[in-house]
Amino acid sequence: MDKDKLFVSSYAPYWHNGSSLSVKSYNIILAALPAVIMGIYQYGPPALGVVAFSISFSIFWELIMNSVMKRPVTIGDGNAAVIGLLFAMLLPAATPWWVVLVGTFVAIVIGKQIFGGIGCNPLNPSLVAIAMLMLSWEAMLDFDEALVNYDLGFYMAYPLGALKHFGTDILYHYSPGQLLMGQQPGAIGATFGLGLIIGGIYLILRGFIRWEIALSFLAGIFITALVFNIADPEAYAPPLFHLLTGYTLMGAFFLAPEDASSPVNFVPMLIYGACAGFLTVLIRNIGAFTDGVVFAVLMVNVANPLFDKIRPKALGKGTDHA
C-alpha cells in the first residue's frame, strides 16, 4: 500500500452546510449594531465606553475561565462578545466601570462557564448578570436616576418608570413614532425600536434566531397588555406602549431566543415565547419591578426543559401524526 498517499477518512456525511458558531455570533453583533450605534449617538462617549468595556471584559473573563478550566480557548467563537454586547445594551450609559466589570463576571463565569460553557447554560448569561445587578444595586439600573444628567431634547422620564409611578396620564408624552425612533430614555441598546426590529428581522430571515420565539413573545405581550387595557384603560397602558418600551424588543429578538436556554421544537417555542410575554406584562402591570422582561425570560428559561418535553412522535413510534 502506498503509505505516502493516505486519504482523510471519517464518518458520513462528507458535506457540511458551512454554518458556524462564529458566523452566527458575528451576525448577531451586526444585527445589534443599529440600536447600539443609536445609543452611542444619543449618549456619547460614556455609552461607547460601557459597550467597549463590557465586550472586552466578557472576552477577558472567558479567556481566564478557559485557562483556569484547562479548556480550549473559545473566545474566537464570538459568543463571549455577544454576551458582553447584549449585557451592555441593557445598561444605562452612565454605568460605572466597576458595575460593568462585576456584571460581565457574573454573565460569563456564573451565567455560562461554571455550567460547562456554551450550550450548557440553563439561563441567558446576559440576563443573569442584569438580574443580579437589578437586585444588588437597584439604583444603578434606575434609568431616571442614572440618566439624571442627560437632556436629549425629549421627555426624559423612563417610560415604564413613569407609567408605574404616575399611571397612564403621562402616556401622552410618548407617541409610538417617538418610541420607535428612540426618543425615550433607557438602556444603551434598548430604546431604538426600529433598529432592534430591523436587526431582529435580519436575524430571523438569516435563520440565526427563531421567528417562533420572537413573534410569540411579542404576541404574548400584546395580548396580555390588551386584556389589561380593555379591562381598565385608566390603569393599564395600551399594548403598543408595552411593545415599544423597556427591554421588550431586546427580549424578543436578542434575549429570549438565546440557544441554550430556549426550546427547539415548534410548539414549545410558541409556548415559551408566549409565557415570557405574559409574565412580562404581569410583572409590569401588577408586579413590583418597572420592567418585567428580565425576570420573565429567566423564569421561562428555567421551565425550558419542561417545554421541550412536548415533541412530535418520532417516525415509526406509536400513532403517526405526520
Binding site: 500500500m1 498517499k5 458520513a12 458558531l21 452566527k24 456554551i118 417516525l315
Partner: protein, 428 residues
C-alpha cells in the same frame, strides 16, 4: 458542497442530481486491472476455509468458501488466487479479502449457463446471485417460506450526486422490463413498483410497471422514507422493511437480473458514478473488485495526500483511506473531495440551536440524543428519545453549527445497542 442559503430559516433543501448532470453521456469502461480484490463477510473459522492460494479461477466461477458450510464467491475475473486474508473493520466485523491476479483474456465458467437452462427461480438466484451488482445482498429478498409481497424498484439514487440507477432507467428501460419479470419469478412478489424522479417519468413508462414519481429532495429515497412516501406505510422503529413484507431493490440490480437470466451471463461488472473534485459526475463500468486507483486513472482524476475518497455519496457514503480499496458489488458511487473542502468535525458541546431537530426527517430530538450518546447512555437514548427511529440520512451532522459528528454518534449508539442485544441473547 452545498452551502447554507443566505436566507436560511427553513429546512435544508438538498436536491438529488438529475441525469442531465452527467459530464459525459457515455459510460467509460475501466479495463480489467492486474489484480482484483473482493471483500466478503466472514463468520467462520479460518481453518474451515475451502479456498486456497494458487487456485486457478475462471470469470463467473462459483467458488465454495468453506469446506462444509454454505457460502460462496463468484470470481469476477480469470486468474489465480494470490492471497486470502482475514481482516476486521473498526466495528470489529470480520471479513475476508480475496485477491486474484488476473491473467489474459476472460475465460467464462459455464456452470451457471448450464444450470440456468432451467427457468429463473429462487433456487437459482440463491445459488448464484448473492453478489448481484447494485444491491448489498440480493438473497435477502428471497424468502422461501414467506415471500415478500411488495418490491420497490429504486429508479432514483440513494444519495446526492449519484446517477447510477437513473442512468440505467434512462438508457435501458426495455431491459429493465425483462428484469422485472425475472424479479417477480425469483422473489414471488405480487406487486412491483418502480420509483423514479419526475424527469425520468417518460422513460419509466416504457418499463410497463406500476410507477411512482418521488420528489427528488434528499432524503426521500432512503428506504424507510421511501416506504413511507410510496406506500404510505410506516416501518416501526425497531422493525425492518422485511417485517412488513416489503423489499427495495435498485434498478441496476434488476438490470443485472436480466443479464443473468436472459443473457445467461453472471453479472461481474458494476456501474459506478464517479464524482470528481468539482462535483462533475461521470459513469464508469468496472469489474467488481477493481481498485479505486484504476478507475481514477481511467477517468484522469488525480488525487493527493489528504484528499477524501468516499464509497457512496456525500451524505451516507463510507470514507476509505487508500486508493487500493476495491469497489464492491454494491458500491454505487465514488466521491473524490479535495482536501481544501474537507470539513473537520469538532468535539464542542451542543449549543442547542435546534437546527438538527428541524432538519431531522424522522422528527427525533437530536439535541437530547447527542447529549446522551456523548455520555454513552445508549439504552436511555433508545427508550426515551427514540434513537432507533433514525433513518440514517446524516442531515444532523450536515447542519450542525458547531460541527459535532452527530450522525456518527447516532450510528455508534445503534451499533452498541445491537452488540448488547446480541450479547444478551447469547447469554440466554
Amino acid at each position: 458542497m452545498m452551502e447554507r442559503p443566505f436566507f436560511g430559516f427553513g429546512r435544508p433543501k438538498l436536491k438529488y442530481a438529475e441525469i442531465e448532470r452527467l459530464t459525459q453521456p457515455d459510460i467509460r469502461q475501466v479495463p480489467v486491472p492486474a489484480q482484483i480484490t473482493v471483500f466478503l463477510d466472514h463468520a467462520a473459522e479460518v481453518k474451515d476455509l475451502g479456498l486456497r492460494q494458487g487456485t486457478e479461477v475462471k470469470t463467473g466461477e462459483k467458488l465454495a468458501l468453506y469446506k462444509d458450510k454454505k457460502g460462496y464467491l463468484i470470481a469476477p475475473a480469470t486468474g489465480t488466487i494470490q492471497n486470502i486474508s482475514e481482516n476486521r473493520t473498526y466495528t470489529d466485523r470480520r471479513f475476508l479479502a480475496i485477491t486474484i491476479d488476473t491473467k489474459g483474456k476472460d475465460r467464462w465458467d459455464t456452470q451457471f449457463i448450464d444450470e440456468a437452462e432451467s427457468p429463473p427461480g429462487p433456487e437459482n438466484a440463491l445459488a448464484y446471485l448473492a453478489f448481484l451488482p447494485g444491491i448489498s445482498d440480493f438473497t435477502s429478498l428471497i424468502r422461501m417460506d414467506n415471500p415478500l409481497h411488495t418490491l420497490i424498484v429504486n429508479g432514483t439514487d440513494p444519495d446526492l450526486l449519484v446517477l447510477t440507477n437513473q442512468l440505467v432507467i434512462n438508457t435501458r428501460p426495455e431491459e429493465i422490463k425483462e428484469g422485472l419479470s425475472h424479479l417477480s419469478k425469483v422473489t414471488g412478489a405480487s406487486r412491483v413498483i418502480l420509483v423514479v424522479p419526475p424527469n425520468l417519468r417518460l422513460q419509466a413508462e416504457k418499463v410497463g410497471a406500476e410507477i411512482r414519481v418521488i420528489d427528488p429532495v434528499y432524503p426521500n429515497t432512503l428506504p424507510r422514507l421511501m416506504v413511507q412516501g410510496v406506500l404510505n406505510q410506516t416501518v416501526p422503529a425497531n422493525g425492518t422493511l422485511t417485517d412488513l413484507g416489503i423489499g427495495i431493490i435498485s434498478a441496476e440490480a434488476v438490470l443485472a437480473l436480466k443479464t443473468a437470466f436472459t443473457d445467461k451471463t453472471l453479472p461481474v461488472e458494476k456501474l459506478i458514478s464517479v464524482i470528481d473534485k468539482d462535483n462533475g459526475v461521470t459513469c464508469a463500468r468496472a469489474r467488481i473488485g477493481t481498485p479505486v486507483r484504476e478507475i481514477l486513472s481511467t477517468l484522469n482524476i488525480s488525487t493527493q495526500q489528504g484528499d477524501r475518497i468516499v464509497f457512496g455519496g456525500p451524505m451516507t457514503g463510507h470514507g476509505v483511506y487508500s486508493e487500493d480499496m476495491p469497489v464492491l458489488h454494491h458500491t454505487d458511487a465514488i466521491l473524490i473531495q479535495d482536501k481544501s473542502r474537507v470539513v473537520p468535525s469538532s468535539d464542542s458541546s451542543c449549543i442547542n440551536c435546534g437546527e438538527c431537530v428541524r432538519a431531522c426527517p424522522a422528527r427525533l430530538p437530536v439535541n437530547m440524543l447527542v447529549r446522551l450518546l456523548e455520555n454513552g447512555l445508549y439504552e436511555e437514548a433508545a427508550q426515551t428519545y427514540d434513537l432507533l427511529s433514525c433513518v440514517e440520512c446524516g442531515l444532523c451532522s450536515y447542519v450542525c453549527m458547531v460541527h459535532i459528528p452527530v450522525f456518527h454518534y447516532m450510528m455508534l449508539g445503534k451499533h452498541e445497542l445491537a452488540l448488547r442485544e446480541a450479547m444478551e441473547e447469547s447469554n440466554g
